[in-house]
């Protein structure tokens, strides 16, 4: 009876879901391409944005147009020479350094006026410039004592930092809701909210402990005209002895949702089942993981792993069962990124 029941269940489970699909495979492919092109457009907007311009102006402002931060390092060193180290015993000396500091490029010295709430640094953006056009402001700084490998480190709990050039904000970062679990000799962060604005890109990062073994990471990025990008990753540990997390054997599952505009990848992996396998086969990887592709909430493909000529590659299986290497969409990803950020990478 029991055996008959089990074989009955097995027979029933071979049926394939009857799904109503409202788009053709050609349209699905086109939508994927459109989304990826939109992503590249967004990167172009970031590359042309005020933050990028500021970085290029301050750190690539030489004849060769290569990265050079020696001027900014020099300015900071002069500040520390006059007012003391900013970091002592792994602790930022925020309270002791409150004030508004202005750099004089002619005398190469800083002057200080009182400021009860913030550390403000005003300085010329580039060398040999008289105009003091950059302003870096740090407020609301608090920290917390943590330990890593028996070393005491004071990590920020809250802060608000803003960088302006000629009165326009080019970068800001706000940290809040940072908490740690100090029950082991490893200070495990259990929550953190980070907001980063690097004109025109706004990014939000949220790290939270859902249960003692479940952690969730959420990353969201958007530009005024571009599509929303989001990554939600959830990690489930096999135990909550954070000091002894040392290998993949300590993880149970990892799941992720990656969204770009209307396109979403939902992926899950059973690390617990895969970790003991030293060299898992394609079947073992695919049987212990699942990745699906959605557009406007409708499933348009499965993503599977296949070894081709000794190299692991990902393929999309479309609604009609046809299969295509993801390289048709992202094969030139590295080159595209290099082209977009050529000012930095060339």
């Amino acid at each position: 009876m029991g055996v008959a029941t089990i074989f009955g269940i097995q027979a029933c489970s071979t049926s394939v879901e009857d799904t109503t699909h409202t788009t053709s495979v050609a349209e699905d492919k086109e939508n994927i391409k459109k989304t990826i092109n939109g992503f590249y457009d967004k990167l172009n907007v970031i590359d042309d944005g005020d933050f990028s311009k500021y970085v290029l102006y301050t750190m690539f402002n030489n004849t060769a147009q290569e990265y050079d931060d020696s001027y900014l390092n020099n300015v900071v060193e002069k500040w520390e020479t006059q007012f003391g180290d900013a970091l002592i015993d792994n602790k930022l000396q925020f309270a002791n350094k409150l004030g508004t500091y202005t750099y004089n490029p002619v005398s190469s010295t800083w002057t200080k006026v009182a400021n009860a709430n913030a550390v403000v640094l005003k300085f010329p953006s580039v060398q040999n410039q008289i105009a003091v056009d950059s302003e870096l402001t740090l407020t609301s700084y608090t920290d917390i004592q943590t330990s890593y490998n028996s070393e005491t480190i004071w990590l920020p709990k809250t802060f608000d930092i803003t960088l302006k050039r000629s009165g326009n904000t080019v970068f800001s970062m706000k940290l809040s809701n940072v908490t740690f679990d100090n029950s082991t000799n490893f200070s495990m962060p259990i929550s953190a909210n980070v907001q980063i604005y690097s004109a025109p890109l706004t990014q939000n990062i949220v790290w939270q402990r859902v249960t003692s073994k479940d952690f969730k990471f959420t990353y969201n990025a958007s530009t005024p005209q571009g599509a929303n990008s989001e990554i939600i990753a959830q990690v489930t540990l096999k135990h909550s002895d954070y000091a002894n997390i040392s290998s993949k054997d300590d993880f149970k599952t990892i799941s992720a949702q990656i969204t770009e505009g209307n396109l979403k990848i939902v992926a899950n992996m059973n690390v617990e089942a895969l970790a003991p396998l030293s060299d898992p086969t394609d079947a073992q990887i695919n049987n212990n993981s699942k990745a699906e592709l959605f557009y406007n909430g409708q499933k348009i493909g499965d993503i599977i792993y296949k070894t081709v000529n000794g190299k692991g590659e990902f393929f999309v299986v479309y609604f009609d069962g046809t299969m295509e290497n993801t390289d048709v969409y992202v094969g030139d990803f590295e080159q595209k990124i290099k082209n977009i950020f050529a000012n930095y990478l060339d």
């Binding site: 055996v3 489970s13 049926s15 394939v16 599952t253 059973n270 699942k290 499965d302 299969m323």
Partner: protein, 188 residues
């Protein structure tokens, strides 16, 4: 953990001494036997096995034949949780009884269903195994046993939501199983 292991071996040696006193009389083995894998109690000492069940029942009739069944069940509802159900049926025949030792051979058919909630690709194992059993009676009501097995099983995985035309992945597996797997049995 050390205390549990020590306690187990003290119990074993004490029972062994007790059994030696009765060595020349072949006591009657009760008809019903319920067994649990020792691995379930002390994971670090005793081997586990994919083909083993958590609880086993064996009925011995008046002749040399015994009929066996066993099952395994686990359900974890958490994110990334795991459901497993396994069942077996089998028969074995007594080969030799010598003092507290009992030797037998037989065959099982078994099936196992397992599925990770977040992956939702049910895996079915269907197999058959021929085994040789070695059992040692600590007392008339307690024994330990091991059953090295030669097995063949066909495993297939069904992905109900895939767009792949063939939604089943299957393969067969043959080998020696339950090597070092020890079961603690109660007889009544």
């Amino acid at each position: 953990m050390k205390r549990i292991i020590t306690l187990f071996f003290v119990l074993f040696i004490a029972s062994f001494s007790f059994a030696q006193a009765e060595k020349d009389s072949l006591f009657a083995i009760p008809s019903h036997q319920v067994g649990i894998g020792l691995n379930k109690f002390i994971k670090s000492v005793f081997a586990s096995d994919d083909n083993a069940m958590i609880i086993n029942y064996r009925y011995t009739g008046k002749n040399k034949w015994s009929y066996r069944t066993g099952f395994d069940f686990k359900k974890d509802d958490s994110e990334g949780g795991f459901t497993q159900f396994a069942f077996k049926l089998g028969v074995d025949r007594n080969l030799k009884r010598y003092r507290n030792w009992n030797f037998y051979y037989g065959a099982d058919i078994f099936t196992r269903y397992s599925n990770y909630k977040n992956i939702n690709k049910p895996q079915y194992d269907n197999g058959i195994g021929a085994f040789f059993g070695v059992q040692y009676f600590i007392s008339p009501h307690f024994s330990i046993s091991t059953e090295p097995m030669f097995y063949y099983k066909y495993i297939y995985i069904v992905d109900r939501s895939t767009f792949q035309k063939d939604n089943k992945t299957g393969w067969s597996e043959t080998g020696l199983g339950k090597i070092g797997f020890i079961e603690l049995n109660f007889h009544f």
